[in-house]
Symmetry: C2
Subunit: 289 residues, 2 copies
């Protein structure tokens, strides 16, 4: 199975200038191994999407996702997962625990991206966090930070998406009711809009942290002077670690299945992409089984 | 004596919407004290520019420069130092060591702003730093980071300003010769231009830090997507601690006197501001003595 990410939608609008097979969220079976590790054949796996050289400064410093020689599955110089077969180095693969169904395991890549926030910076569990955006990535970030003990509020436009957050015990605010008051320690920008960043600045306390989680074809523009006056930290955040994501999914406490809006056959590709781009849609999956 | 800061020039263009007496860099004599501390009368002092309430959450958490009730000398709700007399709370004052001449002591406020970088984040002395901009604040930031052991390069347009840096042992690059190669761990943006931020992104390694040191009347605009892809940290930085600035000035190793382009009488105010705004000018001082 494979999932459609907002990045896929952005690529169809020109982001990264990528031409090729899309798709970087998947779960699959190992069909063939070139080299040793033949025991992996037949194993159900998920895979990290950045293929690195292993010899540059970034690889040697455990910053492989920033390897300047990297290929990225379905995003840069490498065909992706919306296909019957794909290739990845063995070192990118993670076996999937048997109890995880395919339609849950396929969430590992975006859930890892949410964990990237905790990998990048120390966030005290006493902190107040505002997640701007109730889309797929916004909800996953909110769930991860909530599990880490933080006081999490999600703001978005969609009642049914916010319901998923409030049922997890998170505070939710319908976007028009959000009153910026510079009172959050951390704001996660997951709306993918320029307005989102401006709102983040207005909601953040002085010396707070804004985490940028969205990439998009059209750049965001913003006035940077408020960052200086309030000494704000703006932190870009991308791909994350699969280990914590798999461990968390295995516990079964996140409502990942309920984040699936629809499952399509590969032949329904166009229909699936149209649905993925509609307001109110959460995760769209392809089923190749 | 009092110094003209770029912020003063920006205020004359509309920044902060301030109407009143400008000036926030000064050294002076205490003429009168209301309350105890009468021993300070006659003492030569410099003064921190943010007057805080002392009772809000920010003040109680030692973040007084972000007190929401603050007045800021010559910038916000409080007349400044381009005058024969000014007032400040006693708690804002720092006695000036006798060996520091007035024309050096007057640099304490911008030098403290340079130290703010080290107060905000841990920078390893093994780091490679690029300072974009050879103006007053750029040079002071470069000097401070050099003293902290970092490998500092200054890029700017003015040969005579870069000479001050190279004579301190820093690497200098004439701006047109700067080849962005994503190879600096930290970039200090002190040009005050939108182009400066774009250049910073191109010179910074993935997961590096950009420190924004300039405030301006017209906001900077930039595309934020590269921040996400390279997981860059953008950090706004403003007023800093006077203690380390005074200790460093007392050592006499910084070429602060050579950063003075001209000293004017208060009656020459207009002339002084014109000179301060000219390309190639470093510090302009007023002499009220």
């Amino acid at each position: 199975m494979a999932g459609i990410c907002n990045t896929d939608l952005e690529i169809t609008k020109g982001y990264m200038g990528f031409k090729g097979v899309l798709g970087h969220e998947f779960v699959g079976l190992v069909e063939k191994i070139n080299g040793p590790d033949q025991h992996l054949v037949g194993q159900r796996v998920v895979g990290e999407i950045n293929c690195y050289c292993g010899t540059c400064d970034y690889c040697l410093k455990e910053m492989k996702t920033h390897c300047p020689n990297r290929f990225t599955l379905g995003i840069m110089n490498k065909d992706g997962a919306f296909a019957e077969y794909l290739t990845l180095p063995v070192s990118n693969l993670w076996p999937v625990p048997p109890q995880l169904p395919d339609e849950v395991a396929v969430f590992v890549e975006p859930l890892a991206a949410a964990f990237e926030i905790l990998a990048q910076i120390h966030l005290s569990p006493t902190g107040r966090v505002l997640v701007l955006g109730d889309g797929k990535l916004g909800l996953l970030c909110a769930f991860v930070l909530d599990l880490a003990g933080l006081d999490v509020t999600v703001s978005g436009n969609h009642a049914e998406k916010l319901l998923l957050a409030s049922e997890q015990g998170l505070i939710t605010i319908h976007r028009p009711d959000l009153k910026p008051a510079k009172n959050y320690d951390v704001v996660i920008e997951a709306t993918g809009s320029a307005a989102g960043v401006e709102t983040a600045v207005q909601c953040l306390r002085p010396r707070g942290i804004i985490v940028l989680k969205s990439t998009m074809a059209a750049g965001k523009k913003m006035n940077l002077t408020p960052l200086v006056i309030d000494e704000i930290t703006l932190l870009g955040s991308r791909c994350g670690p699969f280990g914590p994501a798999l461990r968390t999914m295995a516990k079964g406490s996140l409502p990942l299945r309920r984040m699936i809006t629809g499952i399509y056959r590969p032949e329904q590709c166009k229909e699936a992409f149209v649905k993925a781009g509609e307001r109110g849609t959460l995760k769209i999956l392809f089923d190749f089984r």
